[in-house]
């Protein structure tokens, strides 16, 4: 940072030193400038993020149904009943919410786990001066660069029962099933796995990108010293790569978790715009349909608030645990 005299708290620390008798207006302008620069961003954030979020919290306390959409001021106050309905396990609403929550957890654990594993594997084998490194990186970034819907539609086509690639492979090429027993991938139990595979395909390049960048920051002498001491590849991965990569891993896993858990687009598109089979009904889809298809906006808001609270708690606990462990080491 350049050496500047700091005049008073709140004054820009990079501004040229203010002459003693600068006119008041000039000084005010200097103090106000950073705020002024942030005003457009603040206004937009308020309008599109903060106010709607607060409005969502307020709405969750009302019986806001289709009837009150145009005159929402008249919607009857509901107290905590939207929350009670969502959390009570003796009714259908609560049970299905819990089921879709559990499904989202399973979906997230599987998708993030495999996405991380593939990304980590690729960045380990491409560590250092591997020939064609740039080529592989560009190739693996394609799923990340493609618009999400283009890739999801392609997966939908590949998972078609009668004219898709997957069944062509399983039924006609490998003869694992007879044609009349060809599996359905977008209906029933398999739809969950179809969803997980599609999600992994999209997300693993992100893990790869981040981990590869993190890997580049590991000093090369560490590996050389270790290999002189006789440590093999496995040992080097365990004793050098894993600890050095820890901070990057913490961030990558958190970001992947939040993205995947909140993912709405993939299930929404994969099964043909919203007709999601029960076995793939994730939390985001569940809230969307209870809000827009059943037109119960109060209930939908309450469930979104619950989702947010869950994410906040998980993030806070995760950061606390990872930080404490780092301090302990």
């Amino acid at each position: 940072m350049a050496a500047v005299t700091r005049e008073s708290p709140g004054t820009a620390d990079t501004a040229p030193p203010v002459p003693r008798r600068a006119p008041l207006m000039t000084r005010l302008r200097r103090i106000g400038l950073p705020y002024l620069l942030c005003v457009p961003a603040i206004v937009l954030e308020l309008l599109v993020h903060v106010v709607p979020m607060l409005a969502g919290v307020v709405m969750s306390f009302y019986h806001l149904t289709r009837l009150y959409l145009r005159n929402w001021q008249n919607a009857p106050f509901a107290g905590l009943s939207n929350y009670k309905v969502s959390l009570q396990l003796d009714n259908a609403v609560g049970q299905s919410l819990l089921a879709s929550f559990a499904r989202s957890i399973a979906f997230t654990v599987l998708s993030v786990g495999f996405a991380w594993l593939l990304g980590f594997g690729a960045s380990v084998v491409l560590q250092g001066k591997v020939r064609g490194r740039g080529f592989w990186r560009t190739l693996f970034l394609f799923p990340y660069a493609l618009p999400l819907y283009a890739s999801v539609f392609t997966w939908t086509f590949m998972f078609q029962r009668d004219n898709g690639l997957i069944n062509q492979l399983l039924v006609h090429d490998l003869h694992l099933f007879t044609p009349d027993k060809a599996p359905f991938w977008l209906l029933g139990g398999n739809s969950f796995y179809a969803l997980v595979i599609t999600e992994i395909w999209q997300k693993w390049p992100f893990a790869f990108l981040m981990l590869m960048a993190g890997m580049q920051n590991i000093p090369g002498d560490l590996f050389e010293a270790a290999s002189i001491d006789g440590a093999g590849v496995g040992m080097q991965i365990r004793k050098i790569v894993m600890p050095m990569l820890r901070p990057v891993n913490v961030v990558v896993i958190l970001v992947l978790f939040l993205w995947t858990f909140n993912d709405f687009n993939t299930p929404y598109l994969l099964f043909g715009f919203g007709s999601v089979p029960d076995q793939a009904d994730l939390l985001s889809i569940h809230i969307y349909s209870s809000t827009f298809q059943n037109q119960n906006f109060g209930l939908g808001s309450a469930q979104s608030v619950l989702l947010l609270l869950f994410l906040l708690v998980v993030t806070a606990v995760y950061l606390m645990v990872t930080r404490r462990r780092r301090d302990a080491v």
Partner: protein, 280 residues
């Protein structure tokens, strides 16, 4: 680098080959299916197409693809450019000034990034509809303007974050030299900082554009047939009687070209910007 015994070289070859197959198969399917006729597509899946480019012609008339394309281009370009302009100002303040509220501002902005979209969707929808009702005409709901405003804000947190990092890497002496020459802070920003950070700024703009181009959730609720974007419009290839898979794949391929081309062109800067925060 890691030790490189022979067995590890084989692990590398096998692993990279498998990953390449996994990555490329859907892309191959997308491209070749676009090159098939509808009757071929409806039959058993074949690896090699009997070349037929009719899908690339017919896709423009089966649905108003041109209009959706235009909507997407207008909405995403405007949103990306405005988002970066707004982010540039805020990032300059965050990078060059220490002011009370700075920490709160940057934390709040960044944390909105992790909130589920579904949480804002409904209230934002209601707010837009109700403002429009009060005004008596559609300003926000179902218009390109409303969508631009939404996308612009969505990409804002990340743009601010990335640009602040870029600006931090530019020596402050440069701004000060400009100010000594009589430029104000804004002059320093636009005449010195922006030109120096240009690759980063372009990368952030492309990133914002890509994010908007792929957005589905808000487009599904906030658009009408007139303002519909590609993300939602492409579903119309699936009708109650038939799915025009060849045209859907051809259209998916064509709409991917702009973003993939931009991405590849600016790969180095994008990767730098994306990884900077996590790796530092």
């Amino acid at each position: 680098m890691l030790s490189d015994p022979v067995w590890f070289r084989w692990v590398r070859r096998v692993f990279l080959t498998l990953l390449a197959v996994f990555t490329l198969v859907p892309i191959y399917v997308m491209v070749t299916t676009g090159l098939k006729s509808l009757s071929d597509v409806n039959g058993d899946f074949t690896w090699l197409p009997n070349l037929n480019v009719s899908a690339f012609v017919d896709m423009w008339s089966t649905i108003p693809l041109g209009r959706y394309f235009l909507n997407s281009v207008i909405v995403c370009t405007t949103a990306a450019v405005l988002s970066v302009l707004v982010a540039m100002l805020a990032a300059y303040a965050l990078s060059r000034y220490r002011f009370p509220g700075r920490g709160v501002f940057s934390t709040t902005v960044l944390s909105t990034q992790m909130f589920p979209g579904i949480l804002f969707l409904l209230p934002l929808f209601l707010i837009f509809v109700n403002i429009d009702n009060t005004l008596g005409f559609s300003l926000f709901f179902g218009t390109r303007f409303g969508l631009i405003l939404t996308y612009l804000t969505f990409t804002l947190p990340f743009a601010i974050w990335m640009l602040t990092a870029y600006f931090d890497s530019i020596p402050r002496d440069l701004d000060q030299a400009a100010m000594v020459d009589g430029a104000g802070p804004l002059g320093a920003l636009f005449r010195v900082v922006v030109p120096t950070a240009l690759p980063g700024i372009v990368a952030v703009t492309v990133y914002a554009f890509m994010t908007a181009w792929s957005e589905v959730l808000f487009a599904s609720v906030m658009t009408t047939p007139a303002s519909r974007t590609l993300a939602i419009g492409l579903q119309e290839y699936s009708t109650s009687t038939n799915v025009y898979w060849n045209q859907l794949m051809a259209a998916s391929f064509v709409v991917s070209i702009p973003v993939v081309a931009l991405f590849l062109l600016l790969q180095r800067y994008l990767v730098q910007g994306l990884t900077a925060g996590a790796v530092k």
